[in-house]
């Protein structure tokens, strides 16, 4: 007697929406169990999370602040995941974006006006992330190196590079020995809505990027080829699709978007390059969940990005109000991702109860 999974013949629209919603609920229930083990009322704790992220004006603005990088990175990841290229390195692509724009901002910032230097920094950010993202693509297509390993390892390299820069050659003269670079000049820093940490530029850029990526994936020849590669590599070869070019391109776009997020964090929030885990609250990793929860559709990524940002903000809040350790949010995210993946499996497969060992064939 055992279980057997059988691929479903078809899935309905309703099920496609219901499955992630149900897995999310199940995931939250499991998170509730964790609270229960800590002796907290799970409903109260979960309520606290969402109250602090969505229940007040301040909470909401913080949620939006964190949603913007998640949407940028998540949209790009949706593209690579469509090609079944498992880019786990968005975190490092984000860092490289920040590094490139720091250099541009510090080098040319003092001598250029705001409307010139800000676009230049975003361009540099895109370029930094794109170049860093193209490395694993080239390694995979030319040398057959697994992208999960290479993107993951490049995260460490990028993090060490940033650390090296901020304690070494780029260490700020004005920072009294702290591991920061000097602050960017005033014209290279983004204007924020008063009382918030939201920049109007990013508020427009993130949804625009998501919309562009949606168009790219579902309406262009490039997006078509990406999806064919992801769904059937053999057929892609048969159809004459150039793997090398296409992979470089989608990793450039995905890495570039992560790089833009890095520029955004730098110019809107931090104003200088600092330690990697200060610069990014793990956005490159959380965005993996954002992309999956958004069903690899950048338009839905906008929704899932806001949702996950809410969990980050709420998680930070309950750390203080309920005295939970700092890793709580990561536990949440991990649990929720596992449930989403399981939900996807049950959406695609039916589970059957088998009484005897079946015949082969």
């Amino acid at each position: 007697m055992r279980f057997e999974s059988v691929p479903r013949a078809g899935t309905s629209r309703v099920l496609e929406i219901l499955a992630p919603a149900l897995s999310l609920l199940a995931g939250l229930a499991a998170v509730g169990l964790v609270f229960l083990l800590k002796g907290l009322n799970p409903l109260f704790a979960l309520g606290e999370i969402f109250r602090s992220s969505f229940g007040s004006v301040f909470g909401l603005t913080e949620t939006v602040t964190k949603a913007l990088p998640l949407i940028l990175v998540g949209s790009g990841l949706a593209l690579t995941f469509q090609a079944k290229f498992w880019n786990i390195g968005a975190e490092s692509q984000l860092l490289l974006g920040a590094v490139f724009s720091t250099w541009v901002g510090l080098t040319w910032g003092p001598s250029l006006p705001g409307p010139v230097i800000v676009p230049l920094m975003f361009l540099a950010g895109f370029l930094g992330g794109a170049l860093w993202g193209m490395i694993p693509a080239a390694l995979k297509i030319r040398l057959g190196i697994n992208e999960v390993i290479s993107t993951l390892m490049l995260n460490y390299i990028a993090a060490e590079l940033v650390k090296f820069l901020v304690v070494g050659p780029w260490k700020g003269a004005s920072k009294h020995g702290y591991p920061y670079t000097d602050d960017l000049p005033a014209q290279a820093i983004l204007w924020l809505f008063p009382g918030t940490r939201i920049s109007p530029i990013l508020l427009v850029l993130a949804p625009a990027a998501a919309a562009t990526l949606t168009f790219l994936i579902f309406r262009t020849r490039f997006g078509y080829e990406v999806r064919v590669i992801g769904e059937n590599r053999e057929a892609a070869r048969y159809a004459g699709i150039d793997f090398f070019r296409t992979s470089l391109l989608f990793m450039a776009v995905s890495g570039g978007l992560a790089g833009l997020a890095g520029t955004g964090e730098l110019t809107a929030i931090h104003h200088h390059l600092s330690y990697p885990d200060t610069l990014s609250a793990g956005y490159g990793f959380t965005a993996i969940i954002v992309a999956w929860l958004g069903r690899l559709n950048p338009l839905l990524v906008m929704v899932s990005g806001v949702f996950l940002a809410g969990i980050i903000v709420g998680g930070d809040a309950i750390q203080m109000s309920l005295g939970l350790p700092a890793v709580t949010v990561q536990v949440f995210n991990g649990i929720i991702l596992i449930f989403l993946i399981m939900g996807e499996f049950f959406l695609r497969n039916r589970i059957r109860w088998v009484r005897r060992t079946p015949r082969h064939g």
Partner: protein, 513 residues
């Protein structure tokens, strides 16, 4: 446990989702015999042997050892009764040594220091049967012949009385083949019985004491080796011609479309697969390539479509060299391709029907204009294909994977024909399809020819090739054995060439150059 004196399979039936692979097959072998099991691909040889080895359970029929009925639930059961099988692809752990591979899963090995005892037995068997192996060499360093000897030793040490060998010579050099045959003779001299699966006539006649031929899941004949000629065997293997040709317009072949000159190519393992092939295909012509699959047909097609690089020779389309161009460039020059393994290569199962309707042409107008997909035009095209090629589907918005095999093939064929190609290549286009779908597809291929198209048709189905082709070339071990006119040629002739027994007499083979 008693040794195997006789083994009998009676009325074995095995169905695979509606397809009958074995239909009442009986087989008998005695100690010391070498039985040749002959037949085309898909005749049911491997299925029958997998049943004997306990990999499949039959849907009907019985197996008897020394007259006593046995039931094998798994290969383990079969091995315990003294049956060993050596698959075409070796089941060895590449990084382990020969000795470790032999010891792996060997039940009688002691728990502590198993290798010491296994080493002793390995040496003993190796000497007794003349199977030279180097026990401490890792398997990945060994040649195919040596790896095969390790497999044989594995089976012998597990005291297999009956050894099943699936196409054992397909990976061997002629010298290694001769060595293998010496070993097999020695084994039969010691009372082991051997079943040799093959489609090569000369091997069967060289070594077997008896031969049994399967065709389309049934026994087509069975005889001691001395009593049958190679011609008899070829006839049993390919059967008799039953169906008539399809009606075709009476058109003389036009100008040369495809020209292949001394083409050579290697397979994925780096062994020569296409060895100096030359032929040409003209307008108004369906040029067939017959042969048991695995004789270089796939590599040949891949060279023409740009999926594989030729190591020598030339491919020309309408007089222009296309050797070494990319698949997309070749497609743009006007070669369309109905691939073998249609689901693996020809479609993207999870994308929708209309998205699949332009695969490979998606980069051209009107389906994409300046890198933007023109989905309205694509959907119109998909609707047209569904209608004119009778694809049964709820809508063009269905995921491709929900279509049946026949309808998938109709869509692929329609897609490739509607590209209005200069040359259409179709590999096994009706393989696994029902009669209705097969007839429809053959009709469409002929219609293409009658409108002036050139078609290169690769098939294992002789019946099909004779029904629709204007000329049929036979491939064996990477070479063209001859080119036959289906109106005058016979099945026997082609069957002999397919089994490598003869080359065509006279000028047909040479005038193709």
């Amino acid at each position: 446990m008693a040794r195997i004196r006789t083994l009998e399979m009676r009325d074995i039936v095995k169905d695979f989702s509606g397809l009958r692979a074995n239909d009442g097959v009986s087989l008998k072998i005695e100690a010391g015999e070498i039985l040749g099991l002959l037949g085309e691909n898909g005749a049911g040889k491997t299925t029958l042997m997998n049943i004997l080895f306990g990999l499949y359970r039959p849907d009907g029929g019985t197996i008897l050892i020394n007259g006593e009925e046995v039931v094998f639930r798994s290969p383990r059961d079969a091995m315990q009764r003294g049956i060993g099988m050596i698959h075409q692809h070796f089941m060895l752990v590449q990084k382990h040594t020969v000795l470790e591979n032999v010891a792996l899963g060997f039940e009688k090995a002691p728990f502590f220091f198993p290798l010491r005892q296994v080493r002793r037995r390995l040496a003993e068997f190796s000497y007794r049967f003349g199977l030279a192996v180097r026990p401490d060499e890792p398997v990945w360093k060994l040649s195919a012949g040596e790896q095969q000897r390790v497999e044989i030793l594995k089976a012998l040490i597990r005291s297999s009385d009956l050894l099943i060998m699936d196409e054992p010579t397909s990976v061997l050099t002629p010298k290694e083949t001769a060595e293998l045959f010496d070993i097999l003779k020695r084994m039969s001299g010691e009372g082991h019985s051997i079943i040799l699966i093959s489609h090569k006539l000369d091997e069967i006649t060289r070594i077997c004491s008896r031969v049994q031929v399967l065709r389309k899941g049934k026994v087509a004949g069975e005889a001691p080796m001395g009593e049958v000629s190679a011609e008899d065997l070829a006839r049993m293997m390919v059967g008799r011609r039953v169906a008539d040709s399809y009606p075709k317009a009476d058109l003389p072949p036009g100008r040369v479309v495809l020209e292949i000159l001394d083409l050579e190519a290697q397979n994925d393992q780096g062994a020569p697969a296409v060895r100096g092939v030359s032929f040409e295909v003209r307008e108004n012509e369906i040029f067939g390539i017959a042969g048991v699959s695995g004789n270089g047909q796939q590599e040949l097609v891949e060279c023409v479509t740009g999926l594989r690089r030729a190591s020598a020779g030339a491919v020309r389309l309408l007089g222009r060299e296309i050797t070494g161009l990319s698949p997309r460039q070749i497609h743009n020059r006007g070669i369309s391709h109905v691939p073998e393994e249609r689901i693996k290569f020809g479609i993207v199962p999870n994308l929708l029907l209309y998205e699949n309707a332009v695969l490979k042409r998606h980069h051209r107008q009107p389906y994409s204009i300046r890198n933007i997909m023109n989905y309205p035009a694509i959907r119109r095209h998909a609707g047209d294909l569904v209608k004119s090629f009778q694809v049964a589907t709820p809508s063009i918005y269905s995921p491709m994977k929900h279509l049946s095999g026949g309808n998938i093939q109709k869509l692929i064929l329609g897609r490739e024909i509607s590209a209005d190609p200069v040359l259409m290549i179709a590999a096994h286009p009706t393989y696994g399809l029902d009669v209705g779908a097969s007839e429809y597809i053959r009709g469409q291929i002929i219609a293409r020819r009658d409108r002036g198209g050139a078609v290169l048709l690769v098939s294992e189905d002789l019946e099909e090739l004779f029904m629709i082709c204007d000329r049929v070339a036979v491939m064996f071990e990477g070479r063209i054995m001859g080119i036959v006119d289906p109106r005058s040629g016979s099945f026997e002739e082609v069957g002999m060439m397919m089994a490598g027994a003869v080359e065509a007499a006279g000028g047909e083979a040479t005038d193709a150059v």
